[in-house]
């Protein structure tokens, strides 16, 4: 397998990666810029990181964002997993097509429309906007992503394992809890991670559904950028990039490996 890359492949690959990562690289470099001017390099410094730590507005926004991401992704995982299970397992029932269509619609729905309609709903039922409403909004749009991830796992899941559990005396719920869930856990975790990162960087839906006391980090960054890009923002973005990079990449590696391993184990348990 020692195939050498042709010059064409090398060029395409470098161009693609440059396109993807050059902007981020510039941002990271300038976050260590000693000058306040974004476009002029004046030597290495970590001062913007220090001043960021003293910026209460950003810290508050970060705390809001983390809480929103945690609760919405957890809720979305529970609901999305349940929806996936019903869609894959329940077979044909009246309205199945409608139901599955409705679950996947938010995938293609423009964020503006999702945000606006949720805003109208919250106003209609007189719900004060705040962290709670952002959590609800993020749950709505991210549960369909969880549902996609989990249902693709369930489709390759051997039904006879559940039947064996029933056969050995489990109630259907017990069979799900003690057989299905442990086996699909890696997929559920990746669904959760996906929902978490989606919530972390959502700007549009959050700005529709956030209240005055619940500004999330993307909203805060966006509004301060309109007044001019400060190196503090660069520093903050660099931190977020590292968190996302380290967290998501390693977690997805782990869960991918777990999925492959589990799949092999499952194939071993279920004779082909």
């Amino acid at each position: 397998m020692n195939r050498r890359l042709s010059w064409f492949n090398v060029t395409t690959l470098s161009l693609g990666f440059a396109f993807l990562y050059l902007p981020m690289l510039i941002l990271i470099i300038y976050s260590f810029n000693a000058s306040k001017l974004v476009t002029v390099w004046a030597g290495f410094s970590t001062q913007w990181y220090v001043s960021l730590m003293g910026n209460q507005q950003f810290l508050d926004a970060a705390w809001v964002t983390l809480r929103v991401a945690f609760f919405s992704s957890t809720l979305a995982t529970v609901l999305g997993t349940m929806a996936a299970y019903v869609l894959v397992r329940a077979g044909r029932f009246p309205g199945r097509t409608l139901f599955s269509g409705m679950i996947y619609a938010p995938l293609v729905m423009p964020d503006v429309i999702t945000g606006l309609s949720l805003l109208l709903l919250f106003i209609a039922i007189n719900l004060d906007r705040g962290i709670f409403t952002i959590v609800l909004a993020h749950t709505t749009f991210s549960m369909c992503y969880v549902s996609v991830v989990v249902s693709s796992r369930l489709m390759t899941f051997d039904r006879s394992l559940e039947e064996a559990a029933l056969d050995l005396g489990c109630t259907p719920f017990d069979a799900f809890r003690s057989v299905t869930l442990p086996i699909i856990t890696p997929a559920v975790i990746s669904g959760w991670l996906l929902a978490f990162t989606l919530s972390l960087d959502d700007l549009v839906i959050a700005s529709f559904t956030a209240g005055p006391s619940s500004t999330t980090l993307p909203i805060r960054i966006f509004s301060s950028v309109r007044l001019g890009v400060s190196p503090e923002i660069n520093a903050l973005s660099t931190i977020m990039i590292s968190i996302v990079a380290v967290g998501v990449v390693s977690a997805s590696l782990v869960s991918k490996r777990a999925i492959i391993r589990q799949r092999q184990e499952e194939l071993a348990g279920v004779r082909a």
Binding site: D158, S160, L161, E163, A164, A165, L166, D167, L168, G169, C170, T171, D174, V179, P182, I183, Q262, Q264, E265, E266, L267, A268, G269, V270, R271, A272
Partner: protein, 378 residues
């Protein structure tokens, strides 16, 4: 085979006072417009080792799944111990199934797999441990108790699946092609193991197989199925010696089939005219109307091949040897009758090869007795 010992034969199906454990009454199962099981009646008795035999797609698995509760009959009734099991969900039935795919839980160890069903019963912890140990010993898996299914071999997995389904001591154990994936040696060993376990535990076994030899080896009775119907239910010997149709005769073992018109030939005998100018075949048969179109079925090993006609046997036919299949202990002779019919005969090789009397293209005599074959009207 049990049939050869007349004293205390196990034959509850012949006892009119015996109540069957399982009864299928006019059961039909349709998937959409496709009929997988077609108004089927069947009785299975306690402690039987009952084999369902038939080609792929004839409805064997569907029959099992209805017993286990994963499918509901479209029509008809299934009773276990005189209780209609229709409304009972799978987890409440006194039935356990060993799946065609084993369906071992990949995230649990061998012992946890075996204990899985026990933990859902009212057993105490100590009882469960004891039972699991017993099952591990019975299936010779003690050394693998702590391993996961992907860490053991195919044959061991199959035994885990068996142990798991046996652990709850069900009234009825369903085995869906349990030995399909095993190689021949392991398969034969396991067949005897299964019979041994069945004898020790006294459980009623229903086994699905498409391997006729397996069915003949393990079963007390065999049901031969075709397209969702049961064609014949009988002991292995009964199925082999007295098939009720060409389908069954052809399905089990090798057989020669000759078609002809029957005419009475004295008490309990018919003569079958199968070719112009040929001596009719004389065979034992009752109640065959004159002129009825019949099929005469005879197993290759019931035919004697010789250079001279055998005077002790009623039927004597000339044939020409087309091919000889030498299998060591036996030889199969492929012959052609004067009318062009193909015929095969099997003889044990009592003599060494070099001293055999006949070879390719030799004209020989085929002889068989009146009772060597059966006359079939279907």
């Amino acid at each position: 085979m049990a049939q050869s010992k007349p004293q205390n034969v196990f034959a509850p199906w012949d006892d009119p006072n015996e109540v069957p454990l399982i009864r299928f009454r006019n059961v039909t199962k349709r998937f959409g417009t496709f009929t997988a099981i077609d108004s089927l009646d069947l009785d299975i008795y306690r402690k039987e080792f009952f084999a369902l035999l038939g080609p792929s797609g004839c409805g064997k698995t569907t029959l099992m799944r209805m017993l286990a509760g994963f499918e509901t009959p479209s029509e008809g009734k299934i009773t276990v111990d005189d209780v209609d099991v229709g409304p009972i969900p799978p987890n409440k039935r006194p039935v356990n199934m060993m799946f065609q795919s084993y369906a071992l839980f990949p995230h649990l160890t061998v012992e946890d797999n075996i204990a899985f069903g026990l933990k859902r019963s009212k057993m105490s912890r100590d009882e469960i441990t004891a039972r699991v140990t017993e099952m591990l010993r019975l299936t010779r898996l003690e050394k693998f108790a702590r391993r996961k299914p992907h860490q053991i071999s195919g044959g061991q997995r199959q035994r885990v699946a068996l142990a798991r389904s046996l652990a709850k001591a069900p009234k009825l154990l369903l085995l869906d092609e349990p030995l399909g994936a095993l190689d021949r040696k392991l398969r034969e060993d396991t067949q005897f193991e299964l019979m041994d376990i069945q004898e020790k535990t006294g459980t009623t076994f229903v086994i699905v197989t498409h391997d006729q030899e397996e069915a003949m080896t393990v079963a007390s009775r065999v049901a031969v199925m075709d397209h969702g119907r049961i064609v014949q239910v009988d002991t292995p010997a009964g199925i082999y010696e007295t098939p009720n149709s060409v389908y069954v005769a052809d399905f089990i073992g090798d057989v020669n089939i000759i078609e002809g018109n029957a005419s009475p030939a004295g008490e309990g005998r018919v003569s079958i005219h199968y070719a112009e100018g040929a001596q009719p075949i004389i065979a034992a048969a009752d109640h065959i109307p004159d002129g009825q179109r019949v099929s005469f079925a005879i197993r290759p090993e019931k035919i004697v091949v010789g250079t001279e006609p055998d005077p002790d046997r009623t039927n004597q036919v000339r044939g020409r040897i087309v091919d000889i299949g030498y299998l060591g202990n036996v030889s199969t002779y492929h012959l052609e009758l004067p009318g062009g019919q193909k015929f095969s005969a099997q003889m044990t090789n009592a003599r060494r090869l070099a001293r055999r009397d006949f070879t390719w293209d030799d004209e020989v005599w085929l002889s068989w007795t009146e009772t060597a074959g059966v006359v079939l009207t279907e």
